[in-house]
Symmetry: D2
Subunit: 383 residues, 4 copies
């Protein structure tokens, strides 16, 4: 059955998503919160049984099959943002669906999950804080005080992805609820309604030039006595988040293999089409060498990702992959940009979007340095 | 006197321009065509005698003094876009002012130059064409036919910087007017009024996520029998453009030295301010090593630029500098981004803007590959 | 059974070969033609059933089992030269044994193979020519003229590996015997006795400082009417050589994975043992980061090599691996050198030997550029 | 006058030294302690007034003229080892001559200096110790005990350059003589006769494959109650050594600019001479690009070295240059090796020697990491 899904997904991505990219870009691309192109693709995905494909809500539960997952993820990575949006696999909603499913009470699930799963509403995720290195989540310090059967949340969160999307109805917030506990057991996840009067969006920011309105931007939020409800057990916040973020990191990198293939495909097409001084660039030794190098790099990235999927030490394997893949893919995309000249920089091609996506992943979910440090310390201890 | 200008410019950049960057960013930054922050800075620049500083219109004619120029340009490069905009030194207007001054008839100059110099109107520059490698300007093929005492221009130009700015009144267009001549003598510069009915903007594009509305975007234009007037002699187009673009390339790189200094300064400030695990990042061996490497790179770039200023072979020196500096500076800015974590990617800092600026210069005015090729061929011939 | 061999090989390499490295180095290492340390190791290998392990002469025929081969080869790569020498797996003998086995007549095999297999005699291999790019074997031009039932060989060969070893009894020589045929069918392999009066060694050379006397150096040979005998069919020379060299390339890279592991292991040991300013280097962020990066690189190289083993297009997979692995491993070894300071450069450690070995493989058996070109052209054609 | 010296030196290097390289290599090159080619060059240098050119013993005292020095040093760097040996400018003798001149008593100078200056005898230099990071000289711990009017030296030194040369008559040894003083004031320089019965050479080592017999190798020495005499004041050892080593570092880098020029020149010559597939490599886009990049790098290195000569902070400038130049030059030489194929690795060309020379300088006189750290810390403090 999984191979039927792979076929179906491949047709969807190649026949529907990629051909829609320029219409999507003309509507504003990732900087627009509403795109009829996207809505059409989402309807198509539902019809083809691909809606929520990478979520536990999908009947095939593709996410759990480690053998077929890299193939599926690569297909999505060919057009990573638009395909994920079309499949309803974009964060924060994808992440929040998993958290609600795994940790929510019946009441919480009943209230939010069906509409979130369906795409009728959206969610936001609030973890980072200003002046705290996100690479060390234990140092997150915003507190929530118990009040009645819930909590009152006060303080500032930054990079609250999703919070500015029009359909956003609630936020998942990481806050210190057990200040006296061991640092790994201090934080809880809280559900906060988006329209709580204590929730105030105070700063929007662009990321490498993009507003990312499509996924609700990345604003700061000032919480002022906002009411929150526990999601999962008190003190479990960091470990619950980690349990969902770990596989998400691996999935990011699997998709990026497809992104690198896309960039390489665009590069070879361009080199074949463009003449300089009466000679196709594709017959230039320099570009043949670079294409050869890029193909070798893509095969190396793919092989590493697939080898690490079955590595016995999951955390180490995730760090190896996360430290290597986004940067390597960003360099391939950058080379494809250079092969396109000015068009590569511009919204005429999808390359600048792909670059921003890959480059951002060298920082989000733990910067390269943090993951290399994890790997290096493990190696030195193993000595 | 030049040192008085340098002092004045330094105060202006450090006391006025840099402190205005966040207000400018809040107004939309390079993506806004109208910024009151910018208008205020421009007024201030006029008052301080710095308006048009790098243009031949400025009494000090700083542009011609090769000794002081690197110092001045570095100061501008500390905040390259906003400072250039404040000084009225941004292309295409800076370029077009020089072309009009050097090549315009009295009538042409009287008509456009005073208002352009004053900033009351703006200009556009149309050189690139779709499907033609800009690195080989002789292959530009849009034609203009003689008609009366002027020309009728028909065809498509791409990357028409400036053409979408609200104040744009005229365009400088490179077109083939002497199709039978030697390839180096076929093109002429033509002046075309922006509101000519045959001038139609047909495509806008973003560059690495930015619309660049501040300098009028980079749209395509479809010319349909638009009326053009010779600027300079028929057949002189490419050599005239080269004469102005050559020094401009050098100037770009001189400014980028300041841009690299700015990024390095932001990086060290951030590393000093940010703690991870109770220890300032500034005391991490890894970041000390990277800062050391960045300082060495900045000194290397600066030394190269200054050494090449007096190189006897101007064209070779321009290619050496243009092939090396933008990429080297983009890497330093990229490192500063990484040192800032997510803030480095975001519009909270100026780093993403600086990156897009430096990275674009690896392609505009001749991609790195073209300039390396010039240098490599010269070397192999010199053998 | 293969796993028993792997265990046996691992014990041999770790308990016998590696502990013998310094005694071998004290005898002159790769620069000595006679080493009692090596003789002892060879006796030990025979006793343990590991002699000729990677040759078709070995009962297990390990070379043909693609699943276990990478594991075995990695073990050898931990001490690549000494282990290969101990196992009788060093070129040119390893290569010549395969050629004789595959192509030799009964008479040729009877005459040379038993003694060669046993290590009683040695062989040389003569392919390269001065002023001919080895990357294009079809351009090799030394001719051999038919004479009686054999050939008379005249001309100069360079890089005749093995020819100066004391036990060398015969040479395999690539020569044009069918000058009128298609360029791919012009060359034959010829057997020439080493003591033929027409065989004259005319130049010895060192390679990155080493004489490589252990494997008979890399002299030039001037052939003057030396008598040669066909090995295999006339005109089959290049394809026969290719059939043996292709898998050899893959095997080189498999071994280099072990070489990279060795370098990484030496690096972490040194960092743990060395204090600077009262602090172990192993606790320096900079070196932790580099160790992390090296581990990631090793995993990437290993994953690529193993993925390419089962790639359907063998020639492409060989080029991907050959273009990537030696350079990547040379960089890891170079980093380990730097971690050791002056000791890393010196014969106190094995690192300089490992570097020379890996670096040389970026050129021998086709330089990186040639293999990247193969990959790039395939990619551009596949478009 | 300096320009006359530059002319004379240029003729000597180009007309005498470079053409002698292959004869020198045939005699064993840097691995031979006695070369008649070298003796001939030395005689020629004396005759032309170039003997001891870079020493304070030379009438022109070229070493002190910072303007002409880079030009002279570049010329020497074209053939760095042979030219230095021919001019009597090779360490340790060059270093020891300066130390004796600056610090020796009349008696010490009378005894050693004339013969050392003349080349009749040679010297050795003993600073490094096993298990002590040379990058932190204050941690050197071999002690010398006062005894009569001298000292008794016991302990082990490593990397005693010069100690194994046949003419070596005395050693300069760094030892702790004031164990109670501040760490910067504990060490003294001592003169020890080479034939003292307490001087025992215990280990020879090769460096990247070379024995460096030409300059007396780099053995370990075990001192057993060897008699030493103060050179300079007690406690001044480290500062005296630093005063001579600092400029030497700068001089090393100046020479390396010439080494890079040499490698680039060999590379372009080879590319012009070698055909692959009927086309000169010099017309390959890939190699044109690499040659262009190498030329740009050479100009960048040269400009940095020359800019740093006049930098007000000498120690910082030395670290900037020392951290950057050897590695950058090693990469250029490595590229030239690749352009030569197997010949580049071999003693057929001088490239492998040049590589070993440049690569070693990334470690000797302070590894790159130490100098980058100096620069990085300065930058972070300057914030």
């Amino acid at each position: 059955m999984t191979s039927a899904i792979a076929d179906s997904l491949e047709r969807f991505v190649r026949e529907c998503v990629i051909p829609s990219e320029s219409a999507f870009a003309a509507e504003g691309g990732v900087d627009t919160a509403r795109s009829s192109t996207l809505t059409g693709l989402q309807d198509e995905a539902r019809e083809r049984g691909l809606w929520n494909l990478f979520s536990s809500a999908h009947p095939s539960a593709a996410l759990r099959d480690l053998i077929v997952l890299p193939d599926l993820a690569e297909l999505v990575g060919l057009s990573p943002i638009l395909a994920q949006a079309a499949l309803h696999a974009l964060n924060p909603d994808a992440l929040v669906m998993e958290l609600l499913t795994a940790l929510g009470t019946d009441e919480q699930r009943d209230r939010w999950l069906p509409r979130l799963t369906d795409g009728a509403i959206a969610s936001g995720y609030c973890m980072s804080e200003p002046d705290v290195a996100s690479s060390d989540p234990r140092s997150l310090r915003m507190e929530a005080k118990r009040s009645g059967d819930g909590f009152l949340v006060s303080g500032r969160k930054s990079w609250c992805t999703g919070a500015s999307t029009p359909g956003c109805r609630f936020l998942v917030v990481v806050a210190v609820t057990e200040p006296e506990a061991d640092p790994r057991r201090r934080h809880s996840l809280l559900l906060v309604e988006r329209n709580d009067p204590g929730v105030k969006v105070v700063a929007e920011r662009r990321v490498l030039g993009y507003s990312d309105a499509l996924r609700g931007g990345h604003p700061d939020i000032e919480f002022q006595q906002a009411r929150g409800q526990l999601l999962g057990a008190a003190g479990d916040g960091l470990s619950a988040a980690q349990q969902v973020l770990g596989p998400a990191r691996m999935l990011h990198s699997m998709r990026l293999v497809g992104t690198a293939e896309r960039a390489l495909g665009l590069m070879t097409a361009r080199l074949g089409a463009r003449n300089v001084g009466g000679r196709a660039l594709a017959s230039s030794d320099l570009w043949i060498d670079r294409v050869g190098g890029a193909r070798i790099d893509v095969e190396g990235i793919r092989a590493l990702v697939r080898a690490m999927v079955t590595h016995p030490d999951r955390a180490l394997a995730e760090s190896i992959v996360k430290a290597h893949v986004p940067g390597a893919v960003a360099r391939i995309v950058d080379l494809a940009i250079q092969a396109h000249g000015a068009d590569g920089l511009s919204s005429t091609t999808i390359l600048a979007d792909l670059y921003a996506h890959a480059r951002s992943l060298q920082i989000s979910d733990g910067p390269d340095e943090v993951h290399r440090r994890v790997v290096g310390r493990r190696e030195l201890r193993a000595r």
